[in-house]
């Protein structure tokens, strides 16, 4: 986990007068799922596209697999896979045609049919792109990103607009990509997604990274409080405290008192709470 695959130092990028990325520094390690999380317009996509070499930064340095995304673009594109936010393909391209075309663009490619099967798209191989559901389209984009067995995969807002069931199916696929040893760099504004998938996250706000760490460590650091809600004798009681000892203590106390408890639940803060605490607003505000 220690080898650095992507290294970004003091990245800045403007569009006219708008500072899309102000000062972003981050490191992505080999074999991890790294999430860049923040609200729309925070600079996630711009950062990711600079790292992919699709945009040229105004200042700062970027290294991906030891390569410069601009100078070594040709070499790098053989070694990274990308999926773009809200992307489309030709309306009337068939699934297998897209896979076949993409296979021909790289020096090496995996078996396209096996990949379609792995992503659950084999039944749709002859379907036109325009007839696919949102989840199927995203699975096809994942397939195109994986066709050449890249060392790093970039996934930009992969599950935005999908229903919960399709979203969960995609999460399993992403976890599977990591299991196969590929590093994943993703962006999302869905905190549940980040919490489920990411080994580490960077929270980005107004073009600046304001915090980096594992989801659990960030929650522990910024929102250590736990909430216990229990019902007894028809009354609901709420207790707050910090740390795991607090929960154990409350349970022990209830047991000692012989209180008859009808309902009991522990509420843990989430990344969403961390975000709220750090920025003063919710991620969708």
């Amino acid at each position: 986990m220690s080898q650095v695959v992507i290294s970004v130092n003091h990245l800045a990028k403007r569009y006219g007068k708008i500072r899309a990325v102000d000062d972003v520094s981050l490191e992505v390690h080999d074999g991890e799922i790294f999430g860049l999380i923040g609200p729309n317009g925070a600079g996630k996509t711009t950062t990711m596209e600079c790292v992919q070499g699709l945009r040229r930064q105004d200042s700062g340095t970027i290294s991906v697999l030891g390569l410069d995304p601009h100078k070594d673009a040709a070499t790098l594109r053989q070694r990274i896979g990308v999926q773009h936010q809200e992307a489309h393909l030709q309306k009337r391209i068939k699934v297998w045609e897209a896979i076949d075309l993409w296979s021909s663009l790289y020096e090496r490619a995996v078996d396209g049919e096996a990949l379609l099967q792995r992503l659950g798209l084999d039944a749709k191989r002859n379907a036109w792109f325009m007839t696919l559901s949102g989840g199927q389209k995203q699975r096809l984009f994942i397939a195109l990103a994986l066709i050449h067995e890249p060392e790093v995969v970039f996934l930009d807002e992969l599950t935005t607009g999908l229903d919960p069931q399709a979203r969960r199916a995609i999460w399993e696929l992403v976890a599977d990509i990591r299991k196969r040893g590929t590093t994943v760099f993703l962006t999302t504004h869905l905190m549940e997604e980040a919490e489920r998938l990411c080994d580490r996250v960077a929270i980005i706000e107004h073009g600046r990274v304001i915090e980096v760490g594992t989801p659990a460590a960030l929650v522990e650091k910024h929102c250590p409080e736990r909430r216990i809600v229990y019902t007894s004798d028809g009354e609901t009681h709420t207790l707050t405290g910090e740390g795991d000892d607090f929960v154990t203590g409350v349970i022990a106390q209830i047991a000692r008192d012989g209180t008859r408890v009808r309902g009991f639940r522990t509420e843990f803060p989430t990344l969403e709470d961390v975000f709220l605490k750090l920025t003063g607003h919710g991620i969708r505000d």
């Binding site: 699709l54 030709q90 391209i93 021909s104 663009l105």
Partner: protein, 248 residues
């Protein structure tokens, strides 16, 4: 290198299939120019020149020019739709070079121009025996060079078009007036002096002069200036496009 070429032909072949699956585009490219020729040919009675109203322009050249214009309009539409849908951006993230991505569309459009022209010649000879007397190879070459020059200007138009919705109206508003002042319907020296200069800078003007020359039996040698102008306009358009082209 062999690998890149493989990608180019694969992309061109996929784009061909995708294009053929869209009925409206195919009809507009292949059949509308033929229909234009036959309907106007009947109306103007080009088959009986002695009895007919004096046909004021060469209908075959208008139809051929129309094929080239349709190709350019289709190119502008496709580029703007692909840009809006992020397809251009996605292709750019592959090892394909920008020239390959856009070049495959040019090759595709030129191929369909050749097929459209073939249909035009066949239908013309069938409908009006004796009316389509031209060296087909030389005329095809003239049409393809003309279309290439118009297509390269299409990339400039595609760079200006803000969204896919504006592709059709903007390319029509740019390209149709070019046909109007191309010298096909009236000599360009009847235009105001300023517009004469503008006309000299447009591919359609030289396209019409070259096609007319080939039609009349004059060789390419007599129209090297027009052929050169078409190449020059294409080169300038490509140079401008590389500066202003937007991938997203």
């Amino acid at each position: 290198m062999r690998h890149g070429l493989n990608g180019f032909w694969k992309l061109t072949w996929v784009e061909t299939k995708v294009f053929v699956r869209e009925p409206m585009g195919l009809i507009g490219t292949l059949f509308v120019p033929v229909l234009l020729y036959i309907v106007l040919g009947r109306t103007l009675r080009i088959d009986v020149p002695s009895q007919a109203v004096q046909v004021p322009f060469n209908l075959a050249i208008l139809s051929a020019l129309f094929i080239g214009i349709s190709a350019a309009m289709s190119l502008v539409a496709i580029i703007s739709i692909y840009r809006e849908g992020g397809i251009l951006k996605r292709l750019r993230a592959t090892p394909l070079s920008p020239v390959t991505i856009l070049g495959s569309h040019v090759v595709l459009k030129l191929a369909f121009t050749a097929v459209g022209l073939g249909l035009l010649v066949l239908a013309g000879r069938q409908s009006f025996p004796g009316a389509m007397q031209v060296n087909v190879a030389s005329f095809t070459a003239a049409v393809l060079l003309s279309t290439f020059s118009i297509l390269s200007m299409g990339f400039i138009i595609a760079s200006i078009v803000p969204t896919a919705r504006f592709a059709q109206p903007i390319s029509a508003a740019t390209l149709y007036p070019m046909v109007g002042m191309s010298g096909l319907f009236f000599p360009i020296d009847r235009l105001p002096p300023f517009l004469q200069i503008v006309a000299q800078g447009l591919p359609t003007t030289h396209a019409v002069a070259l096609m007319q020359g080939v039609w009349d039996g004059a060789g390419w040698g007599a129209h090297l200036g027009d052929a050169g102008a078409l190449v020059l306009i294409a080169a300038i358009s490509v140079a401008i496009s590389t500066k202003i082209f937007r991938w997203e």
